[in-house]
Symmetry: D2
Subunit: 438 residues, 4 copies
């Protein structure tokens, strides 16, 4: 049974000015080992290699999501909106605070290689024998499970789920503002105060008062700009590719019986797929960077080269093509191989629409799969709901935008060295001909 703190605690936060903690439960959760670990996991993965300021952690972001959720609920309670279920505040705050606690180091990249899912790990950390679990259990025996079910989106109050997981949830609102602040771009800034003021609990979800439509447009445009200018930045993509290749190579080497000059117990279990919660909690970005630093001395040339590229930011360059047809790629790979490169590593096709983000998708939330989130609904003064992209031309125009161009990533230094052995056409493709551009 939690209590109010004798005196409110505050965290100084650049994005929200102050983050207010009023419940000892929240305070105790922040002080767990598992939550403190988020300080060693960057919010934006490898983006700091593109935007040097983007060195902020998931710890900061998690506090921010908590704070936005707190402000939304406190506005609901202050105004006495009847559709907000009483007694659900604490479970919502915990879910907001803890929603990212299962993230591993550079998780978007690592999850792909090892087929893991941070949401699942979040739930395991809540339910296993962890400090977080013990703190949550003090509320009641079933409280950890209640928080986990919000994160799994199966909680019996869908409105609580919608607060932490929808097309305009506290998570997204915090990361747009925070990532814009730390990268220094000013695309991500929208009027948070105004958006909070037009949110309304309505039946089993959070909707937007129709007079707030332009504010939502502004929020979605921020998202659009942040995606194309920051999250999908080609240099960031290049560093993610290298990062994935490092782990792919390590896995491959392990599978082939290679003996690593340096290895770590938790890393090994990541590679061979036998991670326990305790191992998982030891994985952080400090460990990954230390491993890469050690691996620059590995006998396997590909592994050591990739690690050096990552640490010293000697990334792959890219060219843009309208189409990436199989014939062309096959020919490129053939020539790469003939020139002494490793086509499986040295030529990677990237297509933005494969990315795990969508600017906005108005479809039904529950049927479509994991990534789908409930659409944004406007409510008018008569209680009539309408999906926002049906009301706004702007939002309609960005809904489901697909970019039609492919990027081919490759190590320019290696390719240039091997230029003699490439056909003129390939050389032209990869701009190795030194023609002047205007």
């Amino acid at each position: 049974m939690q209590h109010a703190l004798a005196e409110e605690k505050v965290f100084k936060d650049p994005v929200h000015k102050y983050i207010y903690v009023q419940d000892s439960l929240i305070w105790n959760l922040i002080n767990t080992r598992e939550f403190q670990r988020l300080r060693r996991i960057r919010q934006l993965g490898t983006s700091y290699l593109t935007f040097h300021g983007a060195e902020h952690s998931r710890f900061s972001h998690s506090l921010g999501v908590y704070e936005i959720t707190r402000r939304i609920i406190s506005q609901f309670e202050r105004n006495g909106y009847p559709d907000w279920p009483t007694g659900e505040k604490l479970v919502a705050l915990c879910a907001a605070l803890l929603h990212d606690v299962g993230h591993g180091p550079f998780s978007h990249s690592i999850e792909q290689v090892f087929d893991m899912d941070h949401e699942e790990w979040t739930c395991r950390i809540l339910l296993d024998d962890t400090e977080i679990h013990r703190v949550l259990s003090e509320v009641s025996a079933d409280f950890p499970e209640r928080v986990a079910s919000v994160i799994r989106k199966t909680y019996h109050h869908p409105i609580v789920v919608s607060l932490v997981s929808s097309q305009m949830d506290a998570d997204r609102m915090d990361y747009l503002l925070r990532d814009a602040y730390y990268t220094g771009v000013n695309y991500g800034t929208f009027d948070l105060d105004r958006i909070l003021r037009v949110l309304r609990p309505y039946r089993d979800r959070i909707v937007v008062k129709d007079s707030g439509m332009h504010a939502v447009e502004d929020y979605l445009m921020s998202r659009y700009q942040m995606y194309w200018q920051v999250y999908f930045h080609p240099v960031t993509r290049s560093s993610e590719i290298i990062l994935r290749q490092i782990f792919r190579r390590a896995k491959e080497l392990y599978g082939g019986g290679y003996r690593f000059g340096w290895m770590n117990r938790s890393l090994l279990k990541l590679i061979n797929g036998t991670l326990t919660v305790e191992d998982y909690l030891r994985l952080d970005e400090a460990l990954v960077q230390t491993a890469f630093s050690e691996w620059t001395a590995e006998r396997d040339w590909l592994l050591s080269d990739l690690c050096r590229r990552f640490l010293n930011r000697k990334l792959y360059k890219y060219i843009t093509v309208d189409e990436a047809n199989e014939t062309m790629l096959a020919e490129m790979k053939r020539q790469f191989l003939a020139a002494g490169l490793e086509p499986e590593y040295h030529l990677e096709v990237d297509y933005p629409s494969d990315l795990p983000y969508d600017v906005y998708r108005p479809g039904p939330g529950d049927t479509g799969g994991k990534r789908d989130k409930p659409p944004i609904l406007l409510v008018d003064k008569h209680g009539k709901l309408s999906e926002i992209s049906s009301q706004s031309d702007i939002i309609h125009s960005i809904t489901g935008i697909q970019r039609g161009r492919y990027h081919l990533y490759y190590p320019e230094d290696l390719l240039r060295e091997a230029a003699d052995r490439l056909s003129p056409e390939i050389k032209k493709w990869f701009s190795l001909t030194n023609e002047k551009e205007i």
Copy 2:
């Protein structure tokens, strides 16, 4: 022989909006392995444990110092001030960019334990066989040495030294603005543009046009506030104490022949004092954090406890006393020992005036020792110079301020467990009596 870049490169920077690189020399220096390593060293050491946003690196700061220096010189050249020596721009820019390249992980703390000096390491990195050395040597054979002598403050043009190392140099201007931005406090903000506009090269130093006195006051007040609110924050001090204790313990254990469960080659050489440049470059905060993570499993209880405290932010608490007399401390230590604690670790006296910062010191720059930096001089329209604290009451009031109170740091959890074995007086000192405060 360096060249202008075909097209100016820009870095997006939250503090200066954009950082402009026009010389290929600068571009190449940024891309060296040694400079990229600064991404893995935080600008503010352990301050992120107090201000969660302060996760920025020395990489960002170094770019910022470069940019401010570039703007100052470009203003000097645009206005054609005769006292700025022509042909010194590039050496100044390199010194500005590279001045911190010798910083190690958590360097303020580690340097104390191992008696090292980052400035010396900076020079070694410039002069040894490194990528930076090779890039600098392309200008001329003696260029690395010229840059190093600016950093050592022995360069034959003192005005260049004064640009990168004085009471109001590009280094300090950047870190105040940057640290304020990332912590989120707004004390550190002063009007950089205006200060740049009132700087003047005058004989062999940089001085300030007297009409700019209030702008300098504002800058020094920012420094004053940042020192007391951020840099000397007691929670940060606590984490630094623990960090130093970890290394002190490791050194002690190593000296005593202890066999570590986990050790790393570069760390070992740090501990036994045999670091080469190559080893030094492998030291970064990822490695330190990884070591701490591994050491939480050490048999030595003190070492593993300290590592856990650092990683999980279970820091020491502190009490404030007017005086820290030997008798009192001796009695405390005696009781701590009797209660089963380790007084050499579990009671640490901290006195702010021992800190490696001074808000402002108007004394002569060259005689007083390492930390002294040339004072700030105002110049009037007749060319008359005056030291600024003689003109400004405010600055006079903060010059050489000494705070008279001591902080005693201790592990509250351990002390509370052992409370039965402590005298009532000691318990009162450490507030273990549960009296209510108003």
Copy 3:
């Protein structure tokens, strides 16, 4: 023949931090009586009645347009772009600074009533016997005419015209940023530095490097948001309607031989259409407000009531209708009249697409009429141009958006008093029935 100032002058500006004046010509223009008059004319007309912070003047804005133009040209010159015509800097700066000098008080509203055009007045002020004319003439006898022809868009270097008058000119860039700053909304903020960096002089116009497309999208979205949230705000529209009605009534009364209790020579000449330049320069918003204050004591009830409404912000309310068909309006007016109101004044239909703004219009600049401005063109590295809305879905979606709803403005207090004499249907239209809304 102008000279560089001995020392650069600076203005502190909240939007651009500092505005730099380097030419004595510019300095002298700013100090003319005609330019100083712009301090008494608000940039946003009556918008301060909606956004209380929006009290900034055209003086501030004009300095801002000058500063942006200065930065653009100085970037062109620094990079030595060959398509920027040498020797055109000063004429461009003067046109930028002076482009709004012909604005009268609340000019958008007054121009409609009296069928005037501020651009024409700008040219008259440049060419007549004014202080501005004398300052410009010091450059050369034809210099005033050259500046005027830039403003008229007939200058023989179209690229100079395009700098001060296009879909992305210095004027628009300044007002979006400035109006956002003073209203306090954060829709208007885009990355000015980045946009300046991607502008290129290309043949006879200013174009945008294609890598800057997203920056332009962001700028146009700012414009879109500012139009709908600020410039077209219904409360501002209401105040503009009242302002126009005051002048309409004054003109009507004058035409009917009414003897005003208070009148002013310049106002009278405005009303009877005989303004000279000297009279025009005496018209400012101080005078208009003083007139309204005096007219609150007029015998003509309609005039005094309207003046009171304006000064005391007792504006008209509005209702929104999908269509404003003649039958409905005729019936409304009939009932208004029967109820003792003045339908010619007390019922005004407003339709946003009549507004003198367009978010973005890609059509040809010169043929379409006064308001058309050259579209925004992207240039790729091969020199190929493309109109931006053909490349960007977002911009395509806001191009030529037409809002389909009408607003009917009316004095709610008067209508409510007369409610007894209105039909139930009319009462329902105007929400006089006190039904509760949700």
Copy 4:
């Protein structure tokens, strides 16, 4: 008896983001004619002639003072501090909102010439037959008097007075932030949120928790900087001198029976000292500027010249002297007279310590006179109070600072024309000798 509004109203405000109105009483007060009049009175008088952005009105500022007061009280109520008297919220909010309602146009200057006092006018407007009076009276018959007594500082709850009138009251906090925002300087920014959090009602006044000392230092340093950089700016002083001279001349002329070419009823009553509340409410800055514009055509050369100077910003220049002894001034005046100038107008001595501001004065609040305000007290956790300048060196250093230099203001153009008739010494004083300065 007032009611909560059905729905909270918000004003967009650049300084506080949003201003929240929850009581219909406050809403109705804002909508009175007398409060709307504050839109026509600038917050910073003539400062816009120095800082062109400073065109904001007392209307904006009054809303800001209201909002800060609202936030302070709402924090007191949320925390249930026992020393805050229940039921005093509304009277405090009204006093905060209305405290400046008696300001006239350019009041600091005009009050000096006509020996008036805006505080007295505020009380008259609250108590006379005005719209404000009628709105306040709806609460209770004695409510207008209660609000007035807060403004007069005689209210029976001194803590309410201390909220709106002390060395760190809502008034000062708003104007520092607001004036910094609109001028664009960044000296005035302090951490309002933090200051609000350390304020405590304690017995009969508002005090500061001692841990907030540095935040208060920062606030007082902002004040110090704003005073010297903005409020006492010599250009602003020059414009104030001219403004006072205009009214002084008009009064003198009126006294001498001069017939004005243009006059206004309320102005006349200002000049002859017979203003009623109704007349007073007609005085605004629009009227003053209109009068000046008309008076540029007056036969009295001095009056018309001064008006032109004010409107066209042809201000007096100044020289700085260490001492302004009578002999020197007498000699200057003698020569000015001989050279055809008007020494009573053309030579004005200004000494900053005469100014109606003090950065901080720790003296007793009640005995010393009008300007004295209660000092800032810190409270420690045992309830012990101490005056802040006894704890802070910084604050001690700015307490009662007196600047020792005089400024002499004069019309440089006229003096230069008459230079032949001046002695070499006088010419040197006024820099008419064209010597080069470095």
